[in-house]
Amino acid sequence: MSYVAIADRDDPHAQHDPQTFLTKYIWSQDHKVIAIQYGVVAIAIGLVALGMSVMMRLQLGFPNSFSFIAPQNYLQFITMHGMIMVIYLLTALFLGGFGNFLIPLMCGSRDMVFPYMNMLSFWFYLLAVLILVAGLFVPGGPTGAGWTLYPPQAVLPGTPGASWGILCMLASLAIFIVAFTMGGLNYVTTVLQARCRGMTLMRMPLSVWGIFCASILGLLAFPALFVSAIMMTLDSVLGTSFFMPAVASLGEAAKHSGGSPLLFQHLFWFFGHPEVYIVALPAFGIVSDLLSTHARKNIFGYRMMVWAILAIAVLSFVVWAHHMYVSGMNPYFGFFFATTTLIIAVPTAIKVYNWVLTLWRGDIHLNVPMLFAIGFIFTFINGGLTGLFLGNVTVDVPLSGTYFVVAHFHMVMGVSPIMVVFGAIYHWYPKMTGRMFNETLGNIHFWCTFLGTYAIYLPMHYLGILGVPRRYYAYSNSIEFIPLSVQEANKWITISAIFVALVQLVFLFNLIWSYFHGKPSGGNPWRSASLEWQTPETPATHGNWGPKLPVVYRWPYDYSVPGAPDDFIPQNVPASDKIPAGHDGHGHDGPGHGGHK
């Protein structure tokens, strides 16, 4: 019997509907449930990291006022906050969460191609998170080596968590990478193989493009972190000297000899820089879809957007050493990497122009997802431009290790993707739950978060230019070049940070409250053209599409098409047909219809 393409299989019984509570919600192989499992765990551990950042800010804003924040705790908070936010929240949420939820729905498939492996991916992720959390309770506490885990200090006595904490971190990372690999294989294979009829690569929404390319980046880059995690574990446990040089620690010669800390840095950043784009590319894709849908206008320069994603993905592998200008590597490397860093700004800038041009003369509906999408453009331009400073060797050297760097990467890698995460959750919340969120609470959440993050990070740029070093527990009066006003700024930042952290409770409340009390959303409240809004049921049931898979006839950006009776044409409407007025997948008009202008 010859092989039947997935797009030609219409038999829903092949999906084996889950029957019990356990198979439906716990050991589920349904991509939508796994997505929500990923999302819940990622947000939960993200809240822990948020709490840690509040602890750090309390110490910086009001030094030595809190007895429970000792110097070693401060370093541990820094380390755990950074690693959790980058890996366990953002990567997991964008790929494990949105990747899982959106790929099959947007591509018109019933599920991921390897559902069992997809389920394993989540459970491995959860195990990784649990081991990470276990690190908080082992003797010596979690590692305080900084999120980059640089040797030699990461495994030397004197660094918090240098014995058990670092091992928990490395083990957790290795397991996370195994989890990601299982998920990533699914995302890539599903996109390449399980798209429905008519869904050519160039008809895929940019969200899928972003997640697809980010998955490929992850599959190629995470092995570098895996390699470094294994080698550092061996250095720590068996006394090898891959990274550990001959070093005297606390007055005694350590057992290591000749290892290369620089090698670790190369490996770490060979993963670390693509990691930036593993987070950014899905955000780029998703924000493109949000802008287009809520501006009722096709995305500007779709083809260019796809090519820009691909160009960024390729270039992201040749910029890693711009994180290492002060590491003592060959100065000529700096020249090369500064050049590639400036080159990668070109496709990125193209994307920014295209987002702005998508808004230009659009029918902009300023609802909550759109607010977050526009907020992203602001924060991303802000963070991106400071990246140009830091990408140049001569400018980076004096700014390296200061709060300018902290401000830069929080704007570009923290706030910007989080803006997209919020926008995306608000946007697809009706599809996940069948209910609308509370618009007022959403607005409060946006404005407080958006303005609040500026209140936090804008002053940090000034601190950085003054030369205030990062990762310091306290700035004593002996550092002469730091004026007293820095302390005032730190106080302001801390108060703003606590305010923004508290505002996130509004978001959580909204998610939970609306799940029970939100207005029914209907099938397509945003009157969106992309395929995930055209499922026969909302929330989509197991198998997504009922007995027959959809067929796609057009791209996902047919908004405000001249001559069409409505301002959107879903992807599954044949080219010759005009959409009947009021079509929304269910015949309901959701609260998003019309919106506020």
Binding site: L185, L192, Q193, T200, R203, R303, W307, N330, V551, A575
Partner: protein, 232 residues
């Protein structure tokens, strides 16, 4: 070496570029001139079973893993830092002759797997089962041989965990052996189906094919690793 890598990268880049330009130049916004729905999915990937494509992607991931391990090896020797960086503690090891025997075992294993695969296409159930078993046994023998080589190095005079040549030897061969063990798990499942569950050839044809591809790939990885170990 750098030039070879650069040329291969360039060649790969050109091939990828040609593929992408062809695929990604459609004017997707023009619904009227777009290709018909029935033809619109013809990019080739859908015609292969998902697990086949999944394995290919997985092999790319493994390639990345071993390439990074080998880059680390090369740099830890004192190369590639961009400046003279004689780290001074690399004491080369003499590879045990048993590694040659192990390599031969792995080659035999791969050949047997290929024969098993050919036997499935010819519909010869008995021969498939037999060849599959022989292939697996050779792979087990390879693992045992590797353990023997580990033991030999353990008692040699250059052995010390601080010697990076020793540490890398264990690391690289260990990671490779773990991949073989992973393969043996899948091999075991397939063999069980054939030998004890009376499965039809059609049920295991794909598994045998994928197992053989994985085996050839790991042989290739081993040849490169062994070459690297011998050359340094």
């Amino acid at each position: 070496m750098s030039l070879t890598v650069a040329y291969s990268a360039l060649l790969t880049g050109i091939l990828v570029w040609l593929f992408l330009v062809r695929k990604l130049s459609a004017k997707s916004w023009d619904a009227n001139t777009a290709i018909s729905a029935a033809d619109a999915h013809a990019d080739g990937f859908e015609r292969m079973p998902a697990s086949k494509l999944g394995l290919r992607v997985f092999l790319v991931v493994i390639s990345s893993l071993f390439a990074l391990f080998m880059s680390a090896y090369y740099m830890r020797m004192g190369n590639g830092h961009g400046a003279e960086a004689n780290l001074g503690d690399w004491r080369a090891i003499t590879e045990s002759p048993v590694l040659w025997i192990n390599s031969t075992l792995l080659v035999f294993s791969s050949i047997a797997m290929q024969w098993a695969r050919s036997a499935t296409t010819q519909g010869d159930l008995a021969r498939t089962t037999k060849m599959l078993m022989i292939g697996g046994l050779f792979a087990c023998a390879f693992i045992i041989g590797q353990l023997y080589a580990w033991r030999e190095l353990r008692v040699s005079e250059v052995f010390t965990p601080q010697n990076p040549a020793v540490a890398f030897f264990y690391l690289l061969t260990g990671v490779h052996a773990l991949h073989i063990l992973g393969g043996l798990y899948v091999w075991g499942k397939t063999y069980m189906k054939l030998a004890f569950k009376q499965a039809e050839l059609v049920d295991v044809k794909l598994s045998v094919e994928l197992t053989s591809v994985y085996w050839h790939f790991l042989l290739l990885v081993w040849v490169v690793l062994f070459g690297l170990l011998l050359a340094t």
